[in-house]
Symmetry: C3
Subunit: 347 residues, 3 copies
């Protein structure tokens, strides 16, 4: 996808210094750019690469010292944002898939909208309702009575169990498993675990994104729900009957136990664990590896295991680092007190 | 699946108050129930939903105040248990799969019992022995010489490597990988890791359940073994040569390193990590996120990293929360002791 | 694969005591060996099994007391190494797969070398370049423009996204996902996350091994790179733009956040988490479950969360275990100082 510096400037509201007709054919970070690439410079720590970059064009902030004459400058307020706009306009991946492959299977009772694209060996089972412009890549399996909204994209080797409902513009990455049985067992009188039937489903609302290898269990009763525009990273586990709000992000390898309610606009970092039946309020930020053992309703940052408000955690961590000093102090005090006690007795 | 209140009462040993002929067509939690549903009320915290529930029938305990006349009551000793019996009898998922799809492949040397059901694109390789009433969903792959016992159920996109032995009534959820190579390497004289051939296998005994995305590695030599009726959640990692006992449950994202022996009737919570070659005795409970660094033979609750007996962990955690107070106390003591020392010198 | 004790001795540089013509047909650990097996004895803790082992032959160290006459001894300097040599020579798994199955698909624009083996339903998409002797097992999906080097082995249900480059002699286990989108979003002015296009790729260098269910994300720009001979276990998450050096091992369920640089010859244990944009130097060892929050450049052992040098972590852990004693001491000191203060006042 080739374009000129002039076109890049027009798209990003920038001003060209140098050759406006320079042709740009790629994007790259400043230290990796090669001829034909446009790059960007937004933080002074990257200026060291400016002298040697092979980029053909570069987004810069006003005031940048344009020492090199063999490069075309585009001055913008936010080089980072401008660079991102160029990528979205010219290099956004198409995830191209067209038509229904002859090896794909659609059950006769399934309904589909316009422009359905199914890769090789895809299975769309009985009673499914698929919207317009849906793409499902190779070897993915959609079981009975699943609904998938318009413009959704499902990558390869994905498993969607029966009755799952997926909204519009959802993206589900390779190897994810949506709607498996929740982990529910009751020990009988002999301590033998009896399976509790998991007869609910999973609902993914609009514009949800689910990472590779992530597993979202169906509800025992009712629905496990992921709210609009919530983004979930790879290898995350969402237990049965969990409800996650809108515009929340959940990073890799985090686990949310059954029946938790997670708010909207939360940020949950990687490898966090949340115990069952808890409520996490809106705008809560949970730092990496935290273990949540009680509900956290107040917006703010939490950290540690058991998780505490961030400043409390930091203070305790500082105290822990001081333990050798405290121990030393206690020893000194003991000696001095012993000495004073002896003096007191003498008196 | 429709049935009457009378039939529900007969199944659960309850007594009907109201219309015995009321037809029930669904089950739901009290706050989500709609017309036609039966629900249950077992804990007083849910009584707030009674006034407004749209359920048609409800399991209640003796003594409940039957204020509404537009609902049918079924009085039982345990509403929870009765509700569960109704689900198991009338709503248990069938995981229906029938016949051998024309796109499934069975090697000519493989043997299978009665009522084998293979979904689309399933592969059953050379030398496999499959029991009666086995169902294997779409796109799952069974490599050479695998044995699967009667009534076992394998969901879609599952990978079973060669020589794995699976007992009767096992359930393996979508995307699980059974029998991959263990992570075994020896650094040679140059520090380059050389692969140790992993020539053992995996044995899953009867009524084992394996979660989505879980990985169970084959033994280097001999067998990795999961005992009868043990249930394993999603995204769990079981290393090579691990042996797990019977009636144990292992929650999501836990990792058990190679050559561990885990007892029977254990409960291992989520995100636990167990170092290699350790022994965990029977009836041990490991709380979430614990890190196990030495063998734990005595039944009981353990927690923390390194894991300690639960009460020890709780006591230490309380002390850690007290560290700011201790630090303050030490400072006060220092001042007071300094003052006393000066006085003593004056004397 | 049958061979004689004489042949085993010749291969391992050992000396036979007993019947050189004894035929060996298997390998096993001493406690599990049956007739026909060769086993080994390298550590005195296993000598208890010697009396009863059913092995036909055994590797022993010089000086071992050869009490039994019904077993053939092969004396070697390192019984463990000799045993391993026998396995590699005679029992190494073949991972046999031959020819291109009629249900496999290769796009007409894809190129492949000699001896390509594709299992059932494998998909090799447009523009792929596959080397010699590559084997790809059933139901794996290779998207557009992927390169795979000679002698590489890809197990079943693997997903390789577009533009991934895989070196020679790589092994990718079942269910792994290589090249999925990195987890990159920018909140817009309304706090709604907008997807940052992930237009880079993944490069796995030569002799890399990737475990089951592991996910390696493509770079936002440029490449996520795994260096030569690096071995990654199951269910590991590697974020976008991570660069891992050579001869490093990463154990199960570890997560490495975006843009980290990991050195060569590192050992990263299980369930470790590394925050984004950090640098881990060569020869760094990170113990299990550690949380890395700042760069660690110096070779050595690190542990804990936040991770500290191992000896520092151990010292702090000892202090934490002592907290009840410290608390007691502080109370005693308080009492004694109060007593002394009163005496001082009286004076």
């Amino acid at each position: 996808m080739n374009f000129t510096a002039e076109e890049a400037a027009r798209l990003t509201g920038g001003k060209v210094y140098g050759n406006s007709d320079t042709v740009i054919s790629g994007v790259a970070r400043i230290e990796e750019a090669k001829e034909g690439d446009i790059t960007f410079l937004y933080h002074s720590s990257y200026e060291k690469y400016f002298k040697s970059t092979k980029a053909t064009a570069i987004f810069i902030k006003p005031g940048f010292n344009k020492l090199r004459s063999d490069i075309t400058y585009i001055e913008v307020d936010s080089p980072e944002k401008a660079f991102s706009e160029i990528i979205i306009k010219n290099f956004k991946p198409g995830y191209k898939l067209e038509g229904i492959d002859s090896t794909a299977f659609i059950h006769e009772s399934a309904k589909a909208g316009k422009n359905l694209a199914l890769g090789r060996n895809v299975i769309v089972s009985a009673g499914c309702k698929i919207g317009n412009n849906v793409r499902i890549f190779h070897n993915s399996v959609i079981l009975d009575n699943v609904e998938i909204g318009d413009d959704s994209l499902i990558f390869q080797n994905v498993s969607i169990r029966e009755k799952t409902i997926i909204g519009k513009k959802a993206i589900i990455h390779a190897g994810a498993v949506i709607g498996s049985d929740g982990f529910g067992f009751n020990p009988d009188e002999n301590g033998v675990y009896q399976k509790i039937p998991q007869i609910g489903n999973v609902i993914l609302k609009d514009e949800v994104e689910i990472g590779s290898g992530t597993t979202i269990d169906r509800a025992a009763l009712g629905s496990t729900i992921i709210g609009n525009r919530t983004k979930i990273d790879n290898l995350v586990q969402i237990g049965h009957n969990v409800v996650v709000g809108e515009d929340t992000v959940i990073s890799a390898q985090t686990g949310i136990s059954g029946s938790c309610k997670i708010g909207s606009n939360c940020v949950i970092a990687g490898q966090v664990g949340i115990a069952g039946h808890l409520t996490i309020g809106d705008k809560v930020v949970l730092l990496a590896k935290s273990g949540i053992t009680k509900s956290l309703l107040k917006p703010g940052y939490y950290f540690g295991y058991p998780a505490k408000e961030l400043k409390v955690s930091h203070r305790l961590e500082a105290h822990i680092r001081n333990l050798p000093a405290y121990s030393e102090k206690i020893k000194e005090l003991e000696l001095e007190v012993k000495r004073l006690s002896k003096l007191a007795i003498k008196d």
